[in-house]
């Protein structure tokens, strides 16, 4: 304890061994808690995903009766608007699911954009969404850089996510588009 005023050799030795014991206890606790957390997260892995991909849904044996979330990219050229109703296809590259939605779309919604929709499968295989959220990727760039990438044919935003950053974001300003 901090009130020890004994500075004898024996007192210091006892303090050191106590310290070592406290360190050991702490280390063991850390191991236990870490293992428990890892096990719990592994057990709940399936419930921790926020959305399912079109491939997950295609591989599902029977369509789920309950509402769930479907996520992926809005397929290029698939968006058909009719008043407040909109139909589009959500793809993950391998498979695509047709989605029907009536309501207000978020500002970021466009072809090639990531979306997460909440809804139910209908018997005809289309997904009736009651909520559509936009999901944006981890790239940030000024409009001029995007225009330059588009003009040079490096990237068309309607085809999906931006190319790997090292192709366009070196620390040198690219083609006079940087500041």
């Amino acid at each position: 304890m901090s009130a020890t005023t004994t500075t004898s050799r024996r007192g210091l030795g006892v303090a050191a061994s106590r310290r070592r014991r406290r360190m050991l206890v702490l280390l063991l606790c850390a191991l236990g808690i870490g293992a428990a957390a890892a096990l719990a997260l592994t057990a709940f892995r399936d419930n921790l995903v926020f959305f399912r991909s079109p491939s997950d849904i295609v591989s599902m044996a029977s369509p789920d009766e309950r509402a769930f979330r479907l996520g992926g990219l809005v397929e290029a050229g698939s968006v058909v608007r009719d008043g407040t109703e909109v139909r589009f296809r959500v793809t993950d590259g391998a498979n695509a699911v047709a989605v029907f939605y009536r309501g207000v779309l978020p500002d970021l919604f466009r072809e090639g954009q990531g979306v997460v929709t909440l809804g139910r499968m209908r018997p005809d295989g289309t997904f009736a969404a009651s909520e559509v959220l936009a999901r944006h990727d981890e790239t940030y760039m000024p409009p001029e850089v995007m225009d330059a990438l588009k003009r040079s044919g490096h990237w068309n935003p309607e085809q999906g996510a931006a190319p790997p950053a090292r192709e366009w974001n070196t620390l040198e300003p690219a083609g006079g588009t940087g500041r």
Binding site: S2, A37, L48, F50, D107, E138, Y140, R166, N169, G178
Partner: protein, 275 residues
């Protein structure tokens, strides 16, 4: 002055550990008097440097840096949101280190540092959540979603608030500090979950943009002000915590002096103790 020793406090006076600290090597640097003297010189510079970095960084981020090609001006929320998220995590790492120092080495300033860190960390985490919500509404279309990233950051916020409350919930300050340190260390398990939630599970929140500085997923014209803001907010965070620890040390000295004076007055009511 506050620095004087207590002439009336005998060896049996149950003083605060800060006033009766033994002096092994580690504790020599934790001498509260030395801490106050050393930091008194630093404080004006710490405040000055924080503002000198943060104000130009904020101007750079809010006025000079470009808008995002798809998010427009909304992207400027990032310059507060991301530094607050980083500070919530880095601050919690600091809390864990202080807790280890307090539990294992009984470092006399570590308990105080942990106690004074948690309200600041809670505010940073709350700002991270609030700005994230304000950003999510226009961009994603929702204020909140129970995805792994947002839920784990909410848990981090509860850990901060819980630590702040728990350390102050005991009559005996040392017991409170001990309980708080244990809670803080148990909560460390949440840090990797917050960090890797966007990689381990699919989430509404996007993965990290700034992982490798060589090729970040963010154009340099936005990365520059972001890093400047992060530096400014970090300096301000550290300065606030330092100021709080200084105030806490002084508060305890005043309490100890008042206690000693009251004792002296009890012992010898005839002779008044000179101030």
């Amino acid at each position: 002055m506050l620095r004087q020793s207590q002439p009336n406090a005998g060896p049996n006076t149950p003083g605060h550990p800060l006033l009766t600290s033994p002096a092994p090597l580690l504790h020599r640097f934790a001498n509260p008097g030395r801490f106050l003297r050393a930091t008194a010189r630093i404080m004006p510079w710490a405040w000055g440097l924080s503002l000198a970095v943060l104000l130009p960084a904020a101007a750079w981020a809010l006025l000079v840096s470009p808008a995002d090609w798809q998010q427009g001006e909304t992207v400027r929320i990032m310059y507060v949101h991301v530094p607050m998220a980083w500070l919530a995590m880095a601050g919690y790492s600091g809390l864990a280190i202080a807790s280890i120092l307090a539990l294992v080495w009984k470092h006399p300033l570590a308990d105080l540092a942990a106690r004074e860190l948690s309200p600041v960390g809670a505010v940073a985490t709350a700002l991270c959540l609030a700005t994230g919500s304000l950003w999510g509404r226009p961009m994603w279309g929702t204020w909140w979603a129970w995805d792994a990233r947002m839920t784990s950051v909410l848990v981090l916020f509860f850990l901060w608030v819980g630590h702040a409350a728990l350390t102050r919930a005991f009559e005996d300050e040392e017991r409170g500090a001990r309980a708080g340190a244990i809670l803080a260390l148990v909560g460390v398990v949440n840090l990797p979950i917050v960090k890797f939630s966007v990689d381990w599970w699919n989430t509404l929140h996007q993965p990290a943009s700034v992982t490798r500085l060589a090729a970040p997923g963010m154009h340099v014209s936005m990365l520059g002000p972001l890093l400047a803001c992060a530096a400014g907010f970090s300096l301000l965070f550290a300065t606030l915590v330092l100021a709080r620890v200084r105030a806490a040390v002084m508060e305890r000295r005043v309490e100890a002096l008042e206690l000693a004076r009251a004792r002296a007055a009890d012992r010898a009511p005839a002779e008044a103790v000179p101030a």
